[in-house]
Each structure stands twice: as structure tokens, then as C-alpha cells.
Symmetry: C2
Subunit: 337 residues, 2 copies
Amino acid sequence: MFKPTTIKDIAKALNLSTSTVSRALRGGYEISEETKKIVLEYAEKVNFKRNPIALSLKERRSYSIGVIVCEVANQFFSQAIDGIESVAYSKGYHVIISQTHDSYEREVINVEHLANRSVDGLLVSLSAETKDYSHLEKLHDQGLPIVFFDRILNSMNTHKVSSNNFKGAFEATEFLISKGCKRIAHLANASQLSITAERQKGYEEALRQHHIPIDKELIKYCKHGGRDQIEVEIAVREFLSHDNPPDAIFVASDRLSTGCLSTMKKYATHHHDILVAGFSNSELVELLNPSLSYIRQPAFEMGEKAAEMLISIIESKYPIEEFESIMLDTTLHPNGV
Amino acid sequence: MFKPTTIKDIAKALNLSTSTVSRALRGGYEISEETKKIVLEYAEKVNFKRNPIALSLKERRSYSIGVIVCEVANQFFSQAIDGIESVAYSKGYHVIISQTHDSYEREVINVEHLANRSVDGLLVSLSAETKDYSHLEKLHDQGLPIVFFDRILNSMNTHKVSSNNFKGAFEATEFLISKGCKRIAHLANASQLSITAERQKGYEEALRQHHIPIDKELIKYCKHGGRDQIEVEIAVREFLSHDNPPDAIFVASDRLSTGCLSTMKKYATHHHDILVAGFSNSELVELLNPSLSYIRQPAFEMGEKAAEMLISIIESKYPIEEFESIMLDTTLHPNGV
DNA sequence: CTGAAAGCGCTAACAT
DNA sequence: ATGTTAGCGCTTTCAG
């Protein structure tokens, strides 16, 4: 059984009190150089590490922050996590990652587990399924610092980081139009997500400005965020088999973009006639065939900002009154044709 | 500031002792139904959650397991993590993920942080840079349960899960040979990794069986596991600019495979003359161009097995004497040509 | 059926 | 310079 050495063990072995050992270990200036040396050496010898659990209990904080995302396999989120980690580590915090797989139930479980004092604050990007926010609201009301990124809960009064989804979607759609496309479908994420509404607005606005009618049959939502490939496949195949099929598809997120391409490759006889543009942070996009024009979000930077904001709340002496919403620009990367 | 309700708060509010509240909360049969009901209702009302930190301290275990991987963006690892989570959750454990980014220093920091009682055991896949294992050995000697998966430390006496790297590499190389390739280069990971040696042996054995000479100039290692794209680029470009360039490349891991393709697309004038086969668990492989024949590891299953083994050690009443090494088969997926 | 008290590992007044 | 003690939140003997 794992029985790490404790301060008590050291104290006993060295015939000192636990407080002396504790102070020596953290280099308290009141301890004689000699005692310090003895303690330090002995601690090193027995591979002593102070128990972070005990420390957390005492200090009533854990110096760790929790991150709730749908899945780390999604490159947008893995990049965001790298950003989060980079600032967290530099400020002495550890990062605990938790995946919801876009399931509401899982989100609730994970949030509750992380919340009660095993983390000092939460960075959350909502699951595609989530429509009820009380698990988060309760905690927030109790004073748990929460910062949203990407998939935001607008109704909660806290810091938020997102990318300019409207503009990104607008530019992508306009790009497709500039390529001569007239019937542009929209493959969207779950309708309750903030990003879904924003991106759809950008898409519709581009069509409007170019006098292209909006056809509701060309807009399909994936209510589980494409958790199952089949969900995407069904939507895309409906587009393909439409009486008057689209000549382009604008896809609203990472997972859906690749799912869309796979489906097209599998089922579309002449899929090169259909242009696809979509949000994606995959590092492999440039190697894809069918090719994908993509909108890239500054994921790493978003992670950094979100972490900075969260830590600033955690470390603030006074309750924060004014909350900020940061919006970062996306970039469009045309491809193919 | 976040001040969650404690048992003490409830006790005070209800004019009971903390022990009664504690017992009522966990449904102790000695408590009267009435008291139980009052406590439960009040707890619900104030959103009481027991403090897992305090619990861990008391029980001297946290019901969570730590996972050390190079990076979650790598699909092999994200799939393995999904496998780990699936068994961990079903057995009541939480999973804490920690990324090394293939840095030795980061590995040490993460291992030490997780080890001392914030997790009950560790699932580790070594970083590409790691050559000194004392940070792990020390903890293992102290009794911390450790299970290795994928990138294994052979010298440590514990459970291990890997895929049949020798066979996977052998089959891939033989596949390239069957396609008529005569000069097959090998792009390998850091030389000290278990997987590197095993895969190289499979590669060399295939060449040997087919009477193809082994040319050491056609074997290149990426000692940081391809952490920087540039590392891969240099190696691949050396292959391409060789006097007698290869007609195929066998790539030893996920990240290197895609890096290799990118470089080829970027620099090789007629990259379609060079066949590439490599280990990859990316879900996008089928959409890649240049195409990649790939060896897929059963990542999810490996994660499951590893987690099961770890939990069995954690929950074992007696010290384990006999350790198992599980090896799972890979599958080859030919592509292109 | 309920309460008082000790203890998990650590720190920080408060002695000495 | 070092020791004693209380307490972080919770569970669990041991007493009533």
C-alpha cells in the first residue's frame, strides 16, 4: 500500500516537532541553518512530498482549475487547453480536464465533482445537449468563479471568451458566394449553443446581402454536436439527395466539418462539385481531400485569455462586479478550386 | 468568495451534531427516519456537496487516477483516454489527465504533482524525451500503483499494456515491399522509447526476410517525438534529398505520420512516387492526400485494459507479486496506389 | 437514536 | 530557534 512519508514521520525520525519540520521545509527564516539542512536532507532522502490534499483542506483552495469541454480529441479544444495550461502553470495552477462528450448528464456529473473544492474555479464550454443550466448557476451563486469560452452561457453574469462567430461565418459564406455558389447549405451544431446562433446569423446575413434566399430546408442541426457520426451522415445525405441539391455547404464546427467530408467522400458521386467551408482547427486540414476551406479560431489564445480571466477572479480580494466579454477574430483559409 | 456549505453549517442550522448529520447524509441505518428526512431536505436546499478533499484526507485515497500522456491532441491518446474513462467511471473513479508535451521536465513535474495522494494510481505513457526514470521508480518503490501503456518502461516490474508493435511494423513494411518498393526509409520516434525499438525491429525483420539490405541512412529518429514540426521536416527532407532517395517511408507514430505527409506535400515535387505507411489513429486518415496506409492500434481497448489493471492493483488487499504484460494486435489499412 | 472527541497531514498563531 | 495547539471538513469509534 502507498504510504507516503509525512511531516510527522520526519519529525519523529529527527526528534523535532512537526511545526519545526514544516517551517524548515518551506524555508522559514526562523529556523537555524543547521536544522534546516538536516531536515531538507532527510526529506530528500525519503522522497518526501507535502500532501496537496491536506494543504488544500487547510488553505481552502487547491491551486487547480477545472476545464469542462466536450472532448479533447477535438483540436479546437486541445489547442485551447494548451493555452489554458500555459497560463495556469505559469501562475502556479494545475489543470484538471473533464470531458462531457456533449452529454448533459456527463456535464452535470463532471461539474459537480470538480466544483466542490477540488478546483478553485471552472472554465467551461457547454455541451451540445445542455439546455438546463442550474448546475452551473447554483455554483456560481455560491461564489464559484466560472469563465465561459467558446460555447457560452449568455445569461450568466461572468467573464466570457469567444471568437467572432458571426464574422467568421459571414466571411466563409461570402467566400462560397464569391466562388459562384448559389445554393449554400448550412450544417449546424445543436441549436441551443451560443455558437450555433451566432454562426447561423453570419451565414444568413451573407446570403441576404447577396440577395440569395434563405431556404430553411438547407439548414440542418446536429443536436448532439455530431457525437455520433451517423447524425452527421443523415444530415449531409439529406442535403445530397435534395431535389434541388446545394452547390456548397457551410459547416459550423470542427467535428461536423470532417464528418461532412467523410460522408461526401462516401456517398456523393461527384462531390467535387460541392464546395465545403467550415470551422476547423485541425492541423490536417491542408491535407484533406475533398478539400476544405476553413475558418480557424485562435484557440490557444482563447484558452490563455479565459485562464487569465478565471485566475484573476480567483485571486481577486473583492467580489467582481464588472464582467468582460472578449471576442477574438477568426481567420479564413480558402482551399481547393 | 466560494464558501460551500459544510456539515457543520447544517448541524448548526438544524441543531444537531455533525456526526448525526454525517450519518444521515450517508443514510446510516441508526438514524431516525425523521431526522434523516430533515437533514436530507435541508442539504438539498442549500446545495450541499460533501467536500472530496476532506474525504480524501480522511480515507487516504481520492478515488481518482492520474493519466500521463504526451498530448491529448494525438488521437491515439484521446481514444485511449476514452477507454480509460469508461472503465474508471464505471468503477467510481475520476480521471485526471496530464500532458507532458514529450518534455522530460514536464513529465517529472506532473508525475510528482499527481502522485502524492491526489491520485490513487498512475497510468503512464512515457514522454519521448524521458531517459531517467527515477521519478517513477521512487514512487513505485513507495507503493504507488503504476501501470504503463503504449510507451512502456520495461525495467519496471508492474502491469503493462501495449500493442504488438513488432508485428504491426512488420506487416506495414511487408505491405510496402509487396507494392514493389525497394528502398524503404524509416522515420522513427525517440530512440529510447519502447515502441521505437519494437517497431524498428519489425521493420528490419521484414526487410531481412525479403533480402533488402538495411541502410542506416534511411533510418531517422525524432528525439522529441515530433514535438516541433521542424524536427520532422528536417528528417523527411533529408530522405527526399538523398542521392539515392527512398521509394517508400514507414513512419513509426501518429504525429510523425501526419508531419511526414505535410512535408512531402510541401517539398516533394512528385510525392506520389513515394508510398507512405505509418502508425496512425487519426479519424481523418481516409481523407488524406497524399494518402497514408496506416497501422491502427486498438487505443480504446488499450485504455480500458490499462485502467482495469490499475484499479485492480489499487483495490487489491495484498501486494501484487505477479505482473502481467498484455499485448493487443494492430490492424493494417492499405490505402492509395 | 444522538453526541463528543479523535484523527487524516499540514500550517500558523501562540507560547517558551 | 523550537514546541504546543487548534483547526481545515469529514468519518468513526466510543459513550451515553
